[in-house]
């Protein structure tokens, strides 16, 4: 007030505070609006790419959840399957079931059973797996031999492409994988309802295969499951114990500082380095089998350990010291204060950190390549010591295959992996909400 009242400066020499504020206020609000706009644009930018990514993957991949099959009345001809009638297992295993399937399809399409070109065309429409499917049926029900049974038999991947309208009919016949005759047969089968798209359970139950129609993520699912269990059983207890000790019991000295810095560094080590470590230690030194999900799990557990430790330490650190003091103040020992009060309060944070760490490990490919989990594994493993693959590795392997069937399976497996991870994150959120407590 003394300044504005100075007579020598005149009445308009110094504007009042409110005038100064008023003159700048429009600019300030404009800056604020601009700032908000940048934020919204950044969010929209991110969301757009996320939507494009998801739309792309789903558009490419949803067809992999459907697969074409023929509904066939297969006559289990005793003359073909078991001419001697002895029902010996070897005879049943070796019989030519493929010809039975072809015969059934020819009959269904009302073709002349004697026509050789027709038989060739029809055989090309059936999956090579049709043979196995009928054989498995016969082995399960040997009493059905001599009867006609109604079976769903997988179509060939090329026929499947035609069914899914993914086949370019304008290409000259000589350069097509499906001949004009076959196309005509397929159209007829489709019109008569013999050929249908059905839910592809094989995607989840088959292992590796060179034919797209019998390739699935079964082995990868089981391998990923074994690895997840290994990570949970190893990384979580070890990580939580280490974090509790470092945060609550260890003194602060040069050694613990060094350990802390190194744990933070470990979290930033590229995952392929862990793969090399796993190869050198678990496989070469300890002699564990290659491609085994146990080794994969061990490597991923090592990789997840720093994440779990850091998340747990952060969660423990966020528990207010007043709770510890309260417990110690009534005479709880240090361990009682930690186990009765600190850990329960830190539990939601530990859980979230752990699940995110495990989810990250599940999406990891590079270290698994190093320990040989890129193998062509057909049989679904029953123990963690048997060869297996993992979901992301399966995606990587299919992505390098050229057939149309594998292209859609690449996206299909990606959808499966994303759903898997989304479910895990959802569980993390739900558990967090459930266990979160206010203080």
């Amino acid at each position: 007030m003394a300044v504005t009242a100075l007579p020598t400066m005149g009445p308009r020499a110094k504007p009042s505070t409110s005038e100064i504020v008023k003159s700048g206020i429009r600019r300030r609000y404009a800056a604020e609006r601009r700032f908000r706009l940048y934020g919204i644009l950044a969010v929209l930018f991110g969301l757009t790419f996320l939507v494009i990514l998801f739309a792309n993957i789903i558009a490419r991949g949803y067809t992999s959840f459907l697969q074409s099959s023929f509904r066939l009345e297969v006559f289990l001809d005793p003359a073909v399957i078991d001419p001697s009638g002895a029902r010996e297992e070897n005879t049943l295993l070796m019989a030519d079931y493929g010809s039975l399937a072809a015969e059934a399809l020819m009959k269904a399409l009302k073709l002349d059973p004697k026509s050789r070109p027709d038989e060739r065309a029809v055989t090309g429409l059936l999956s090579q797996n049709a043979d196995t499917e009928i054989r498995n049926y016969v082995l399960r029900n040997p009493s059905e031999i001599g009867k006609s049974v109604s079976l769903w038999v997988l179509a060939h991947a090329n026929a499947d492409s035609v069914m899914k309208n993914a086949f370019d009919r304008t290409v000259p016949e000589a350069r097509r994988k499906v001949s004009d005759r076959q196309l005509a047969l397929l159209d007829r089968a489709k019109a008569e309802g013999i050929l249908q798209l059905r839910f592809n359970t094989g995607l989840f139950t088959y292992g590796a295969s060179s034919q797209p129609e019998t390739a699935g993520v079964g082995v990868a699912l089981v391998g990923s499951f074994f690895m997840m269990m290994t990570v949970l059983l190893l990384a979580v207890p070890l990580g939580v114990m280490a974090a509790v000790y470092l945060q609550e019991f260890a003194g602060r000295n040069r050694l613990t500082d060094l350990i802390e810095v190194n744990i933070n560094n470990l979290a930033a080590v590229p995952s392929i380095v862990f793969g090399i470590l796993g190869l050198a230690i678990f496989i070469n030194l300890f002699g564990l089998p290659r491609s085994a999900s146990l080794v994969g799990g061990l490597v991923l557990a090592l990789m997840t350990l720093p994440t779990v430790i850091i998340a747990t330490r952060a969660a423990i650190g966020a528990v207010p010291p007043s709770i510890r003091e309260a417990a110690l103040g009534v005479g709880a020992s240090k361990m009682q204060a930690v186990t009765h009060h600190v850990l329960p309060l830190a539990f939601p944070g530990i859980l979230t950190g752990t699940i995110i760490g495990v989810a990250k490990a599940l999406g990891e490919t590079a270290p698994l390549l190093m320990i040989g989990m890129v193998a062509f594994v057909v049989e679904i493993p029953t123990t963690p010591l048997e060869p297996a693959t993992a979901l992301p590795v399966q995606i990587y392997m299919w992505a390098t295959a050229a057939e149309r069937g594998f292209v859609e399976r690449t996206s299909g497996a990606t959808i499966v992996l994303l759903v898997f991870l989304a479910v895990m994150n959802l569980i993390a959120v739900i558990l967090r909400r459930r266990f979160e407590r206010r203080w």
């Binding site: 007043s322 003091e325 103040g329 009534v330 005479g331 020992s333 309060l345 407590r437 206010r438």
Partner: protein, 271 residues
């Protein structure tokens, strides 16, 4: 005022205090936080059954000294305590003495109410449970109810024993913390500015409670409020810059302090 009368009154009170048994005896206590000398050569006696108040400006070492009495300073990294503190003639810094046992005998109430994020019942039952003070569920319930009664909280929470302790009001939470402290039946209760986060009505309730508790417990309270010290305590110690400046009967400290610094603080010239 007649000087002679005043003097003899002072003497009477001092003698009365001296005659009372000494509960806590501190001799030449020093506390260092790293390089900082936080508490310097403190020697003081706390008499049995009564309220002793520690007053002084912020950072004067009064809370530090309080936390020495139940060895809560042990939990602070870089904190060193030297000198001797005896409770009932037993050195509490003796290596053979167990700190858990000590804290069962010396309860503590903190500045900010800090109930556990559990039910009212569990808050009070926690101490007896970990020390194994109750043999049966009925006995434990008895302890909880008695403690809540003594803390003057039972009537207010008797229908809400299963509700979370954090859902109570600030003053109720602090009385819950007092109930939690007395549930293990300690001999000494340390209170570190127990009313600084409370409104005047809740403060009055806690002060009333303190005077009731003196029948059974020795209470040491750290407070910023000189009026509170004058209201609740029988003896007062004034700390300044880590030194114990003066200690004596509350009336003497407030009416006739020996030291100029005490006089200045009490009359509001600093702090």
């Amino acid at each position: 005022m007649d000087m002679a009368v005043q003097k003899s009154f002072t003497q009477d009170v001092t003698e009365a205090a001296a005659a009372k048994a000494v509960k806590i005896a501190a001799r030449d206590v020093n506390v260092h936080y790293g390089d900082k000398h936080a508490l310097k050569h403190v020697t003081v006696d706390v008499p049995d059954k009564g309220v002793m108040a520690f007053i002084g400006p912020s950072g004067c070492g009064k809370s530090t000294f309080l936390r020495c009495i139940n060895r809560m300073n042990d939990t602070i990294p870089g904190c060193r305590v030297s000198g001797k503190i005896e409770i009932d003639k037993a050195d509490i810094y003796d290596p053979s003495l167990d700190v858990v046992q000590l804290r069962a005998r010396v309860g503590m109430v903190f500045q900010k109410p800090n109930p556990f994020p559990k039910s009212v019942f569990e808050n009070v039952a926690y101490g007896p449970r970990i020390h194994g003070l109750a043999n049966s569920k009925a006995e434990l319930e008895q302890v909880v109810v008695t403690s809540l009664r003594r803390a003057g909280l039972f009537e207010e929470v008797k229908d809400r024993l299963a509700d979370p302790g954090t859902g109570l009001s600030g003053g109720q939470q602090q009385r819950l913390c007092i109930a939690r402290a007395i549930a293990v039946d300690p001999e000494v209760i340390l209170m570190d500015e127990p009313c600084s986060a409370l409104d005047p009505i809740a403060t009055a309730k806690i002060e009333e409670l303190m005077s009731e508790l003196t029948e059974r417990y020795t209470i040491v309270i750290v407070t910023h409020s000189m009026q509170q010290a004058a209201r609740v305590s029988q003896r007062t110690a004034f700390f300044h810059l880590g030194n114990l400046v003066e200690e004596g009967p509350t009336e003497v400290i407030f009416n006739n302090p020996k030291e100029q610094r005490t006089q200045d603080y009490i009359t509001g010239r600093f702090g």
